[in-house]
């Protein structure tokens, strides 16, 4: 059982939660995630560690409500506790001084992009962050990202904030400005990562993406999270979650994410009743 220290809604659909987890906080590195369960008969769901303090012994999650478990999690309050919490899982992001790094966060993907931006900056890189959302409300953590980056660009699909367009348009703009980009790290919806990957491939910019496949155990035991990378089958929970974007079969991955759509919808409707 891990105690919830704070909970706050950032947007109507997205909340952040600070949880007491001293051992995980001491160990976690950028790019790693946890798996949690909120109820005895509950599902195990993976969530990226968006922030943490080894000294104070907490980690922070930023979660978008998409289905039953994230909804149940959002209903927990400070002072309550998380039934099961396991982590840190997955391989940490490879952090190195490569020069200029563009960190792209889409929607709730901005949260996991944040510790990566922080670590890249700390390693001496010039960090340019691009935050994308469908509208103004969905662009989260602007302040934190500004603190972690040399420059921040914001895009919204509807133009309600920042530049109108997609994160790929912002990357294109940087390229057109003549900027030499050494690495792109993109975290967000699979479709966004796919298009970022297509663009950077054209310009031969090394690109990392953090994949969010369906998971069960998170220890390499079940293979639910498998994805084809460079036509080899990889397990996202242990081989990833980060991979060379140009090798990832995004279409296959997006297809697998739909595996339980019907059941997930039912579960959500039952919950509403």
């Amino acid at each position: 059982m891990n105690r919830i220290i704070e909970k706050e809604f950032i947007t109507p659909e997205v909340f952040r939660m600070r949880i007491e987890a001293p051992e995980i906080a001491a160990k976690r590195k950028a790019g790693q995630f946890i798996i949690l369960r909120v109820a005895e008969e509950g599902e195990r769901i993976p969530l990226t560690i968006a922030d943490g303090s080894a000294g104070e012994g907490w980690i922070e999650l930023v979660v978008q409500i998409v289905g039953k478990t994230t909804k149940l999690l959002s209903m927990l309050e400070a002072g309550g506790s998380i039934l099961d919490l396991v982590g840190p899982l997955g391989k940490p992001t490879h952090i190195e001084n490569v020069g200029t790094v563009v960190v792209v966060g889409g929607g709730v993907g901005i949260a996991p992009a944040h510790p990566i931006a922080q670590a890249m900056k700390k390693a001496g890189n010039r960090v340019i962050s691009i935050l994308g959302g469908r509208n103004r409300d969905l662009v989260i953590m602007e302040k934190q990202m500004k603190a972690a980056s040399d420059r921040v660009m914001i895009t919204t699909d509807d133009g309600s904030y920042g530049m109108k367009g997609l994160v790929t348009d912002a990357i294109q703009k940087l390229i057109d400005e003549g900027l030499k980009i050494n690495l792109v790290v993109a975290v967000g919806p699979p479709i966004m990562m796919k298009f970022v990957s297509l663009l950077t491939k054209k310009y031969e910019i090394p690109t990392l993406v953090s994949l969010n496949t369906i998971m069960v155990d998170g220890t390499g035991m079940c293979g639910a999270c498998r994805v084809s990378v460079g036509s080899k089958t990889k397990f996202v929970c242990v081989d990833g979650p980060e991979f060379d974007a140009h090798q990832v079969d995004f279409d296959g991955m997006m297809q697998r994410q739909k595996m339980y759509q019907v059941q997930e919808k039912e579960a959500m409707e039952n919950l509403k009743k």
């Binding site: 599902e43 396991v86 220890t219 059941q263």
Partner: protein, 491 residues
């Protein structure tokens, strides 16, 4: 429910204290009552009900009490089988359990899942005389009977614990190997912590082997017994990630036992394996057992709602997957196996139960590719028929494809149950633990010592996917060596 002939009444048996071997051989093998197949595929309750008191005594009277008992030689932990059977015959169940527990702390589990026909019952003189292992004294069923009897008596007395030594042992993994070592090491007075990656203990006993074959309450009870002995259980701890083995030593542990199992699912590397509806057996069984997906939506973890299921493989894992699929409501479950029935590695009882329940065996066939529909879901699997050729390295006749025999099987779910290899997490994060080319940890067989000082290993991580009792057997050897190492400090 089928009535099983009970044989001569127990009271009558009691009178005949001194049966001749010939008379004993005439006593019919006692059969456990079972849920009817049509009924049991609609629930997840255990299939056999276990012996009645009378049945157990009668079955026990079949044993000839051999001097050089071949059954004992066949049991990987050398249970004194004639002795415990004699106690059962005399109605002294307490001593029967104690006899078993001298060498096997998990009899309720082994009685249910050991491949007895390959082990203790294989050499049984009664079986040999009557011309078939199925006619051997039903050692496993007797073992189960007394273990269940003990449980029905309420709390088991925790074994005596020696005075505290101040030494600490870390056990990584809570499958049968880890649990065995926990008990044996704790008894010596050492402090024991079991670290388990999942949120529940038991390893394959919890996430793999289904409820209808091994009720989870039995596993949980054994863990409660360990806790009563003072063993500390820590869940949600992936060693290698949260703490490395070296960090455990730095934190004050004096020895470690690695029992992380063979939890890495193998795939077939055929086309279509990443389509929706294709599962590893591990995923399918974990969703069903550990996460109780069979109760969805009352529980939260979903599983495919399959109509036609193909399971690839012929071992226990394949049988468990096929029988679980039936219980989840599938109309047709095909078991596709590339050899013939005699080569199937599954326990005979499981094959038999699977057949009774309506699993359709497609023997001497092999999947070639899985074909999807336009939405990425499994639609068909292409299979090819095989025939048995020359024996291969394993001594089994090698299956060879019959050209031109390909055909399409209409399915919406495929379950790959062709085996598991060892979990690489610990070796990857502890490079000074040596492994072989399959990733299994290399140990000295007499002690289960690894190449790293203070670290022992056993069970599937050493053996590759093996059995519960072999994992426990290695655990016993390791525990003895750990106790000695902690007493002498000599590596």
């Amino acid at each position: 429910m089928k009535e099983v002939p009970a044989g001569p009444a127990a009271a009558e048996m009691e009178e005949k204290k001194n049966l001749t071997p010939k008379e004993r051989l005439q006593i019919p093998t006692q059969v456990m009552r079972e849920q009817e197949p049509g009924e049991r595929i609609r629930n997840v309750k255990e299939v056999p009900f276990g012996y009645t008191d009378d049945q157990a005594k009668i079955e026990a009277s079949r044993c000839l009490q051999c001097k050089k008992a071949p059954c004992v030689a066949g049991c990987p932990v050398s249970i004194d089988i004639p002795a415990f059977i004699k106690y059962i015959h005399e109605g002294d169940y307490k001593n029967a359990v104690h006899t078993i527990k001298n060498t096997n702390i998990l009899p309720a589990i082994c009685g249910r899942v050991c491949p007895q026909e390959e082990q203790c019952q294989k050499g049984c003189v009664v079986g040999k005389s009557l011309g078939g292992t199925d006619k051997a004294v039903q050692i496993g069923k007797l073992e189960r009977f007394v273990a269940d009897w003990e449980m029905s008596q309420g709390k088991a007395d925790p074994p005596a614990i020696k005075p505290a030594t101040g030494k600490r042992v870390a056990i990584v993994g809570s499958g049968p190997a880890g649990l065995t070592v926990a008990a044996d090491v704790r008894r010596e007075g050492h402090e024991v912590t079991v670290f388990e990656a999942l949120h529940k203990p038991g390893g394959v006993l919890i996430y793999g082997i289904p409820e209808f074959r091994l009720p989870k309450a039995i596993v949980m009870r054994e863990v409660e017994n360990l806790k009563a002995m003072g063993v500390e259980m820590k869940y949600n701890m992936v060693i290698g990630n949260i703490h490395s083995v070296d960090e455990l030593f730095a934190a004050g542990y004096d020895a470690a036992f690695v029992a992380t199992g063979a939890g890495l699912p193998m795939f077939m590397r055929i086309d279509g394996e990443n389509l929706n509806g294709v599962y590893s057996a591990n995923e399918f069984l974990t969703r069903a057992n550990l996460m109780k997906a069979y109760s969805f939506p009352a529980t939260d973890t979903p599983i495919a709602r399959s109509k036609n299921v193909a399971v690839f493989g012929g071992g226990n894992v394949a049988m468990d997957s096929a029988r679980t699929a039936l219980r989840l409501g599938a109309e047709n479950v095909y078991l596709v196996y590339r050899r013939s029935k005699t080569e199937m590695p599954a326990r005979i009882e499981e094959v038999h139960h699977a057949e009774q329940e309506g699993v359709q065996f497609l023997l001497l066939q092999n999947p070639l590719r899985i074909v999807g529909d336009d939405k990425g879901w499994v639609k068909q699997v292409e299979c090819i028929k095989m025939e048995l050729g020359e024996p291969d390295d394993s001594g089994r006749r090698r299956p060879v494809p019959i050209e031109g025999s390909e055909y399409m099987l209409e399915v919406d779910t495929c379950i790959v149950a062709i085996g598991n290899s060892s979990n690489p997490l610990i070796p990857d994060t502890t490079p000074d633990i040596e492994t072989n080319k399959w990733g299994n940890i290399i140990v000295q067989e007499a002690t289960m010592k690894t190449s790293k000082k203070g670290v022992f290993a056993g069970g599937d991580i050493v053996l590759g996917a093996a059995t519960v009792i072999l994992a426990m057997g290695q655990g016993r050897i390791a525990a003895a060596a750990i106790n000695e190492y902690l007493a002498t400090g000599k590596w």
